[in-house]
Symmetry: C2
Subunit: 304 residues, 2 copies
């Protein structure tokens, strides 16, 4: 929670489906305090967003108006207010923030819009801020950003613009198959096996169409060969990431690749890319989110 | 429930993960009565199988011993007793039934073993009885059986033997993605669109590696293009079945294909196969299960 007496020049907010995270920022964009709760978008009706935010950041508010910049699902149709998607190609740094309705005059809340692509149909809501954050620190970057996660994104970036992107349900499939399917009997909740992972990536890249059969084979291998639940977990991850890499090949082949995400997930994606001769740099997801919120706030101050 | 006074010559039982179904049979293998309950294998400890069975079939038992033949997950390691897998290639009709331990002397319970394949690792538990049932009615069949379901099976059958097979988690993926994933917001619980299905099958067959991206596109198409939840449901099914067909191509290409399953599921698989120029016959899953149980009982009587 925030310390007593912290007063924010502005507040940066990352508001996703299942989490809410806020930073009290000073006028030089340094972090004064941080707070978080489980009041994700999915749990809130439109009129519950303002109280959920105040519960977290009220200690940071001064007597005047404090700007709040928020990204993520808070700006979706089911969120606090809809911040309509911008269409690619578009500047990574957003300039069309949308005001959220507030009752408390101390709040001035603006939501960062997502990004859409018509063909193939695809959407980004939240990661656009990480992309803008990355480019605020590497303005000359030209290449591909890989953002592994629940819905992994591969994003082609050039001249400060998001050119095209593709989303894969890799992380969500991993969770569903590992926890909800018949495979849960054969897959450990934790644990890893580098060799099993690398082998599965290679198999899936070579024959990605066999995915649904290879999934079931994880069960059969446990029954018939006593394959360890840790190796099975690594194999499931490898099959999914291998299939993703096969489909995302136009994104990473011969490209400069930078990864933005959680350290553990970046490590396994980096290993999978390295096996294809691709070296990817790594940047922290939460840090890039904050950098993107700072970039949006700076933009706002420059063009009032 | 069974009528009063029905006395069975023997009892046929289909006992899966989530269901228990029993038929009272006369000495000419005609069905006298049928009963079912939700006492599936997953809900029972080993010592609860006998009471669950008696609750259903006790009205059919005479003073002597009544043979009971059961197939399905009841014979798995977590079931009543383990009926170890037979390895392919093997006769479709099983001759290695395993006795389940009973306290009630009126019961003589035998479990049909599953079938395993070492490479690629795969298992069958329950469908082997449908295969045996099909072959008891078409003893000269040489070709491929397709058994669509939660875990769809493609089975190469020749000279009364199961030669090889492959299992796809198609049905389970459809349920998980349609009900548990982010796609649940975009997918109707019922409803269909033939055109959307056919298009998705063709897309997945052409580029099966893009599956995880095409899944997410269902969400994006709903958000950006207002795609109907019924069309999205048919598309999800088409993507999964198309990928399955791409991987199962060695099974159906240039082969005689017979389908065994539920009518609605057989209809959509038949449509997907027809688009590839393959005509498949159809046989009812429950009827083939009963035919397979009858074949096992006949076999038992012939070789006591």
């Amino acid at each position: 929670m925030a310390g007593r007496g912290t007063m924010a020049a502005w507040v940066a907010v990352d508001w996703g489906t299942t989490h809410l995270r806020a930073w009290a920022m000073d006028d030089r964009d340094a972090v004064l305090a941080e707070a978080r709760s489980d009041d994700g978008m999915a749990a809130l009706r439109p009129d519950q967003f303002e109280p959920a935010l105040l519960a977290l950041i009220e200690p940071w508010l001064g007597p005047g108006t404090t700007p709040v910049i928020a990204c993520g699902m808070v700006g979706s149709r089911q969120g606090w207010a809809e911040a309509p998607y911008r269409a690619v190609p578009c500047q990574a740094r957003s300039d069309r923030l949308v005001h959220a309705p507030v009752r408390d005059a101390r709040l001035d809340v603006r939501l960062i819009p997502g990004v859409k692509q018509d063909s193939p149909a695809d959407v980004i809501r939240g990661e656009e801020t990480q992309i803008a954050g990355y480019l605020s620190q590497a303005p000359d970057f030209d290449g591909v950003l890989c953002l592994p996660g629940t819905h992994s994104k591969w994003v082609h970036v050039s001249a400060g613009e998001i050119v095209s992107f593709r989303t894969f349900m890799t992380g969500e499939l991993f969770d569903l198959l590992g926890h909800q399917s018949v495979l849960r009997h054969s897959i450990a909740p934790e644990g890893w096996d580098d060799g099993a992972f690398a082998e599965a990536v290679a198999e899936a890249m070579a024959k990605p169409e066999a995915l649904a059969a290879r999934f079931f084979a994880l069960r059969a291998e446990a029954l018939l060969r006593g394959q360890s639940p840790e190796a099975a977990r690594a194999r499931l991850s490898g099959l999914l990431i291998g299939a993703e890499m096969a489909a995302a090949k136009p994104y990473w082949l011969g490209q400069q690749v930078a990864m933005v995400g959680a350290p553990a997930l970046m490590a396994i994606y980096t290993a999978a890319l390295a096996a294809q001769g691709v070296t990817a740099s790594q940047a922290s997801g939460p840090e890039m989110t904050r950098a993107g919120l700072i970039a949006a706030h700076t933009n706002l101050s420059a063009v009032p």
